[in-house]
């Protein structure tokens, strides 16, 4: 038996013994997600137990180095763990922008002090991070951001406004793009800086969305003092860090639609629409749409797997996450259009225990942001055209 087979057997046995039954079904509402942070509360004992066991094993972030609280697994082992967790439907023990976005950037660009300070608090779920990127006048054209960081001794003094800051009202710290050189060309005067959201001068205001929920905030900085040592990477070269982080963000968003576990879409539809005498969904055209969707969904899962394998083999293209982000988010929107059509009248209810307070229509509306956040579909296609296809003037 190979070492990897041995690892798979041990992993499966450990997960069987340690993953509480309540943590082995798909995430249904926001309450099912554990984000960590200073003010966090577990929604159930099972969630707490699961998180703590995985944390102690280093498996909140299996492929980070052990010295930062990660699992120290290599790529092949991490893939085995993912597969085994998926096979039993195990939920992620910890969801975190620290894991998905900041961590990879810190590992590449951070100083040893920065890594030692921040990474262990991410893996242990102690600090919840948010992302200060977009501004009212810097959306798709992110590099035109105007939030100022003015030098004052050992500090920067930060003034400006961010928008679409996910969960800023719950976050403990922010990783933020600021302009440190207003005279340079727009990509050249930006720095990537970290600071505590409890700092004097920081305020947040949730934005009510069409889903009736407020996952995003406006975030205001009024003379916030931040030590210069909190800059990640080189001053005025923050755009490099920002772009690198975006690759990870896009890979994360492209995976949001992954429903490899859970009930097949066709059966969800049959629950509400019913089936004909042959057992086929009683809406033949919707049935065809679902089948075509499932082809694309399964093919995308292969492409996601291949992207990881290519990166591991050193054959990946750094801009490929933009391709995956485009396809994954468009597919997730399509999934929810199908779910709304399948749900019919039942999927229109907005407030009632029966509809779990309109969980489906709210989730449907939320997906419309997938192809906007983290770079719009149009920006993604522009990146593919320019960086992968090398088309002129793109």
């Amino acid at each position: 038996m190979s070492d990897l087979d041995q690892f798979r057997r041990e992993t499966r046995a450990w997960l069987e013994a340690n993953c509480p039954p309540e943590m082995r079904n798909p995430v249904a509402t926001d309450d099912d997600v554990f984000w960590g942070g200073r003010n966090t509360k577990f929604s159930s004992e099972a969630q707490k137990v699961w998180f703590e066991r995985m944390r102690d094993k280093g498996w909140t972030v299996p492929d980070w180095p052990k010295q930062y609280g990660g699992g120290g697994l290599d790529g092949a082992e991490a893939k085995v763990l993912r597969e085994e967790m998926a096979a039993m439907g195990a939920r992620p023990p910890l969801s975190s922008f620290g894991i998905w976005m900041l961590g990879p950037a810190l590992l590449k660009y951070g100083t040893e002090e920065q890594k030692a300070e921040h990474l262990p608090k991410i893996t242990a779920g102690l600090i919840r991070w948010c992302q200060g990127y977009s501004e009212p006048n810097a959306g798709s054209d992110l590099a035109s951001l105007q939030t100022r960081a003015e030098s004052d001794g050992d500090d920067y003094v930060i003034t400006g406004q961010k928008i679409w800051t996910s969960y800023a009202n719950y976050a403990d710290w922010i990783f933020c793009l600021v302009r440190t050189d207003p005279t340079a060309k727009k990509h050249d005067g930006i720095s990537f800086i970290l600071f505590d959201m409890a700092s004097k001068g920081v305020s947040t205001k949730p934005i009510l969305l069409i889903s009736g929920k407020s996952p995003f905030c406006e975030t205001f900085f009024d003379g916030v003092r931040v030590p210069k040592s909190h800059v990640v990477g080189t001053v005025n070269r923050g755009w490099d860090v920002a772009k690198y982080l975006l690759q990870h963000e896009r890979a994360m968003i492209s995976g949001l639609g992954d429903r490899s576990v859970g009930r097949p879409l066709g059966q969800i539809a049959a629950d509400s629409i019913g089936s004909d005498a042959q057992g086929k969904l009683d809406d033949p055209i919707l049935r065809g749409q679902i089948a075509a969707f499932e082809v694309d969904e399964a093919a995308l899962a292969c492409a996601a797997e291949r992207a990881v394998d290519l990166a591991k083999a050193g054959q990946g293209h750094p801009a490929f996450s933009s391709a995956m982000k485009y396809y994954g988010t468009e597919l997730n929107k399509r999934r929810y259009e199908i779910l709304m059509s399948a749900g019919g009248i039942d999927a229109l209810e907005w407030e009632s225990p029966r509809s779990r307070e309109g969980a489906r229509p709210r989730a449907w509306l939320r997906t419309k942001a997938n192809s906007i956040e983290g770079g719009t579909s149009e920006v993604m296609l522009g990146i593919v055209a320019k960086r992968i296809l090398d088309l002129p003037g793109a």
């Binding site: 082809v295 797997e305 291949r306 391709a323």
Partner: protein, 378 residues
């Protein structure tokens, strides 16, 4: 298993690519078509294929082959797809070998070495109607004496006009639509009652319609078990589907590369047309479609090699996705080449024609999406 080629597989790709690029670029197909070649393919090239070890790629080593699998078959088909090479590789080296390796020892010994050395061409005869519906086979095989008597007609028998051996699916029992009652037979095309009509196809590749009129075969001609041919046929067709998906990935990528090159050369309104965002975004989405099809196809081929009995899902995903993508790639290829894309002199049209045939081979995208829906019971 990682979804990337191993070092050995990359070497196989390079050697197939080198050989086909040199000996059978698209001009080779064009020449066959324009000269109305009697067989539509080059026997010398097929001999060369055998010498390179490609004809026996899937033949077990004890019968003179390399004993490789679906991934390797797909690698060669992808290069064939890039160059639109007319070759018995699919019919003989992939389909027939996959069928024959599931036969008995005598059958394997009689045919596999000849396939590996390039001296025997074989063809699989399954389809009867306008669409690929293997369970709807109506051709009859009735017991007669020690053997069977075959009656019926087959269509789209790839390389059927030059085959030395036919592998024919017929009904020994059951009714059209049922899994039970199918049997595979090895039939000599020169046998009395077999009539072969070469069909000149839209893609200038090779196929035949074959009639069977009271054709007598012995009991030894049965491949596998009488009445139990469905599983064997599924297994063979699945490898064929994966292989054709790979051919479609190859042809899609070739059309795409030629099209992107054109976008970087052609000027209108004083600009390279590749500067126009309307074309950039369409090119980008097509690139993504091709990458996704490639990943799904490699997954299907790997699954066929690792656990063939469970490969149907992955195979259908690959065949459907690669089919949809190829259909789109060739249409965008013609459209983005403008009027030039419509000319016979330009190669893009040849790719469009081949893509249409590949779609129909062993089930189009709709057929395979339907298969998914049925497997998931909705």
């Amino acid at each position: 298993m990682p979804l990337v080629l191993t070092e050995e597989q990359s070497m196989l790709r390079d050697s197939a690519r080198g050989f086909i690029n040199e000996k059978a670029p698209v001009a080779h197909l064009r020449k066959m078509r324009d000269e109305r070649d009697a067989t539509g393919f080059s026997r010398d090239l097929w001999k060369g294929f055998a010498e390179m070890g490609f004809a026996g790629l899937l033949v077990p080593e004890n019968f003179g082959g390399s004993g490789l699998g679906a991934v390797e078959a797909g690698i060669v088909l992808e290069e064939i797809g890039r160059n639109l090479m007319p070759s018995p590789f699919l019919s003989t080296a992939v389909l027939a070998v996959s069928a024959l390796t599931r036969g008995n020892a005598e059958q394997q010994a009689a045919y596999l070495p000849k396939i590996a050395d390039g001296s025997l061409i074989a063809a699989l005869a399954v389809d009867e109607g306008a669409k690929h519906r293997p369970l709807n086979i109506a051709m009859q095989a009735v017991r007669a004496g020690n053997g069977f008597k075959l009656n019926g007609a087959k269509a789209l028998v790839v390389d059927g006009h030059v085959a030395d051996l036919l592998i024919v699916a017929a009904r020994t029992g059951g009714n059209a639509g049922e899994r039970g009652g199918l049997t595979l037979f090895l039939v000599d095309p020169k046998a009395k009652g077999v009539s072969v009509e070469r069909t000149v196809m839209v893609d200038a590749h090779n196929a035949a319609r074959i009639n069977f009129d009271n054709v007598e075969v012995s009991a030894d001609a049965v491949l596998g078990e009488v009445d139990q041919g469905s599983d064997l046929l599924d297994a063979v067709l699945n490898i064929g589907r994966g292989a054709v998906a790979s051919e479609m990935v190859g042809l899609s990528e070739e059309v795409f590369n030629r099209t992107v090159t054109y976008l970087k050369e052609r000027k209108q309104f004083g600009k390279l047309i590749g500067e126009f965002q309307a074309l950039q975004h369409r090119a980008a989405t097509l690139y993504i479609d091709i990458e996704i099809s490639r990943a799904a196809t490699l997954k299907a081929l790997q699954t066929l090699d690792q656990d063939a009995a469970k490969a149907s899902h992955a195979v259908s995903v690959a065949k459907a996705r690669a089919g949809t993508t190829a259909t789109r790639a060739v249409q965008e290829g013609v459209q983005m080449h403008g009027g030039m894309g419509m000319t016979d002199q330009f190669d893009i049209g040849l790719f469009m024609k081949r893509a249409r045939v590949c779609q129909e081979l062993f089930g189009d995208d709709n057929y395979h999406a339907e298969r998914l829906a049925e497997a998931r019971q909705y």
